[in-house]
Symmetry: C2
Subunit: 500 residues, 2 copies
């Protein structure tokens, strides 16, 4: 007797999962280990494996098996049904975009990435513009095809790839609430801060000791160094599969916190991935539930916990041990004020929690207009600069601290930015529930104990994999629908409390 | 108009080449970077990609294209014809072994490798024997099928995978000549050595400085660190593809030369791979011409050059710079005597040039008998021990310094050992031609100049890729047929010369 269509599909996805893991290693190596002159060779390897992965995912055989499994789904359990739904979702996304478009997009983004870097070296948007234009055209085609296939508006078909099941209305409502309240909140926080400005923290911090500190914190968090690695790269990232998960950070000899919080952010991703359901680890339902949820787990650790009074209590003695710090600026109250200072700044990745959503809102509005054609690529710098002025009252001095600062669009990642804000929204809702369910959480974190935190997260988030949608997960875990309310409550409480 | 069958084949092999490169990276990472607990995950990835590679190589489409290209080969150039021949060779090898046998062999060798390591921990052959037995059975089946398909005797069908085009008669003639002359030569060399024994060299050598020394030597050799890496692993190896080539070595704090000569051996492999014809780099004809030729390039650098008076002249000041060495044992003449000392020893990888071929001869005879069934696995230790006594006048004290010392058979690599000796034979012939064609070679090497050497090797060996057979290459490059004569001349001259 031959295996059932569903069982055959699981077998097919086991193979796809191995490809997925091999691709992850090739990308990790390219960013961390690969010699500089080997980029072309690696590009060919990635392209070949991605093409093969796409081909395996879109064969008529998969479609036939999916149809037959769905027609005979009465005997399947919950997890299997959810798995079948996710298989179909992966296949639908893959098949909507023809291979020719994928490979044109791959070539265009490879070129755009090179010219983005060159344009940054020369601080000149003009060099990048024609290549961005080409990418925008191709992404527009892709969005139209995806939208048609998925029954979504083109831009939201792209968002769906990163944050499945979150609707236009959800995203718009969240951004509306944030843009209504944040400008005032930022003003109030800055006024309060001006009354008690934190003493600046600076110094020279040996990289070896910084690494030792980060490893100690990651061990406390529970990162399994026998199934993962910590390395360095230009931009921090997490790659790999549960069972071999690799995080990177970037150390800065003059700023102790760049490396630490970079590693904490990535450890948040890694702990999520490591907590995914082991029994389904090589199946679609065993994967993470999209970038918004990924980001929520990273932000919880980096921002909600990492920049809390409890964490500062835990961190202070470690800093003393590694760097023998002393003086008033290193006192816990000042350390906390320093780590939570608010600033109207130009660069997204350096922004604080309070101003960050406005950086994203700008990108969200601009990328939608780029795709509809309402905004021409050549007009992007002006639109960016006036948008920054209007929302954050700062104006870029050039392209590098303006619309050239992010690599996302060069890579064709349109529809990705909203997941950063959705991540914050999700994190805030989870944070409220966590604090209700775990009254001892602060005390535990102050002692460097993270097991309570992760037991809760595993139960309510990680172990669900992709079984439920983000919105269902939120309802179960937080007893609230997805909205900006919890994030705004969190920000008000944190940034309007009287200091020190 | 669609592409010609031949052009389509090149396209197919471009994809196979990308898989080959991805697999190389996965293996490199497993040995150098991977966390210890991630072996299972990596095993699945390797198995999936290898299976896919095998499937792509053995589709009916490839067979059809090969047939059509061969029927219409009149318009093809030399290189293309050679490429077609190598494509056919790869496909014939791959298709001769059914997928079920390949996967049984993969599982059996994975298990045997684990038990080999465990047996070594307990210095007990019994633990390993049943697993070796299973491997022998499966390799026997594979050899029979391969032999049938290629029209070769079963064992030599295996040899053909590693050293293509070298016949039974060639190998037997070479081993016969070596076994006739070497025992006497060893005796004479030991007598001479006893008259002037070298002063022993020992000490503590900081690993960081050892690494700096190795990097300096590799830079002098011409290793391109922008397209390759040097790392550490338990056993030195070379992995990757031209354009991203990675060598490893193993440093020993108490022995300066382990790390250096390990790296030189691997750099020999790497320089060969880097010198392969760039225009054919993703095609079968652009690959190396098998393990025997690979080994010849490694031995040329490690032994013929690395353990020469000229190289000692170059090396001595570097040792002084890094380690401030001084004293009579570090004088060039003693250094040379120490690096070329002869010893009847039990362990192959520690053996000198003179005794090494006898270690291989023993393995060659035993593995042939294991495959025919003439020797039972349970009788292997006795056969090994008496073989060592008979050939090298030393007797193992246990399994670890006896038949458990090599991992090859556990991995199913039967037919591989002869390539070590063939590599020495080829290296010696090339060495004679090199010295005739480049009278300045010694003087150059003494100054740390390796460009003359590699210009010659590129022209006569590397740039040919797999265009000609090993035997054709030898005739062109050395004007001699493949034989043990040059190796015996080299060994006699080097080990029977009068020493200070």
């Amino acid at each position: 007797m031959s295996a059932s269509p569903y069982a055959q599909l699981e077998q097919e996805w086991r193979r796809l999962h191995a490809f997925h893991g091999a691709l992850a290693l090739l990308r990790w190596d390219a960013a961390v280990m690969m010699p500089r002159g080997s980029a072309d060779v690696r590009g060919e390897q990635l392209a070949a494996l991605e093409t093969e992965h796409h081909a395996l995912l879109t064969t008529p055989k998969i479609t036939r098996l999916l149809d037959r499994a769905q027609a005979n789904s009465q005997g399947l359990e919950d997890w299997q049904l959810a798995n079948l739904r996710e298989m179909r979702r992966q296949r639908d996304h893959a098949i909507a975009t023809p291979v020719t478009l994928i490979s044109r997009l791959a070539r265009a983004t490879a070129r755009a990435e090179v010219y983005w870097a060159e344009a940054r070296r020369q601080n000149s948007f003009e060099l990048f513009a024609p290549h961005l234009e080409e990418v925008v055209h191709l992404v527009r085609d892709k969005a139209a095809l995806l939208g048609q296939a998925l029954g979504l508006a083109p831009y939201f078909a792209l968002v769906d790839e990163f944050s499945p099941g979150v609707s236009t209305a959800d995203v718009d409502a969240i951004f509306k609430a944030l843009s209504r309240r944040l400008p005032g909140l930022i003003r109030e926080a800055l006024t309060l801060q001006a009354e008690h400005p934190p003493l600046p923290i600076a110094g020279k911090f040996a990289l070896g000791k910084q690494r030792a500190l980060v490893v100690e914190v990651m061990r406390a968090i529970g990162f399994p160094f026998d199934k993962g690695r910590l390395d360095e790269s230009e931009h921090p990232f997490t790659e790999g599969v549960p069972g071999d998960i690799r995080v990177t950070t970037r150390f800065d000899g003059g700023d102790l916190f760049t490396g630490l919080f970079g590693a904490m952010h990535e450890s948040g991703h890694a702990m999520y991935d490591l907590g995914l359901p082991q029994a389904w680890r090589d199946q679609p339902v065993g994967r993470d539930r999209g970038m918004a949820l990924e980001e929520s787990q990273a932000l919880l650790l980096e921002m909600f916990i990492g920049r809390s009074r409890a964490f500062v209590t835990y961190l202070r003695p470690l800093l003393e041990k590694q760097f023998a710090v002393s003086g008033p600026e290193w006192e816990p109250a000042n350390l906390y004020s320093w780590l939570t200072r608010v600033q109207r700044s130009l660069i997204r990745v350096d922004a604080d929690e309070l101003t960050y959503p406005l950086h994203i809102l700008l990108r969200y509005e601009l990328e939608k207009k780029l795709l509809t054609g309402e905004l021409a690529v050549r007009d992007l710098p002006d639109a960016w600069n006036s948008g920054m002025e209007q929302r954050l009252e700062v104006r870029p001095t050039g392209a590098n601290d303006g619309c050239l600062q992010d690599i996302h669009w060069a890579l064709g990642s349109f529809g990705y930015f909203p997941s950063y804000v959705l991540g914050g929204v999700i994190a805030a809702q989870l944070w409220e529930s966590l604090r209700t369910d775990l009254p001892e959480l602060d005390a535990q974190i102050a002692r460097g104990e993270f097991s309570g935190l992760f037991t809760w997260l595993r139960e309510h988030v990680h172990s669900l994999g992709a079984k439920v949608t983000v919105k269902e997960l939120m309802k179960h875990a937080t007893r609230q629908p997805l909205s900006a309310n919890a994030l705004l409550r969190y920000l008000e409480q944190k940034y309007l409390e009287s200091r020190p």
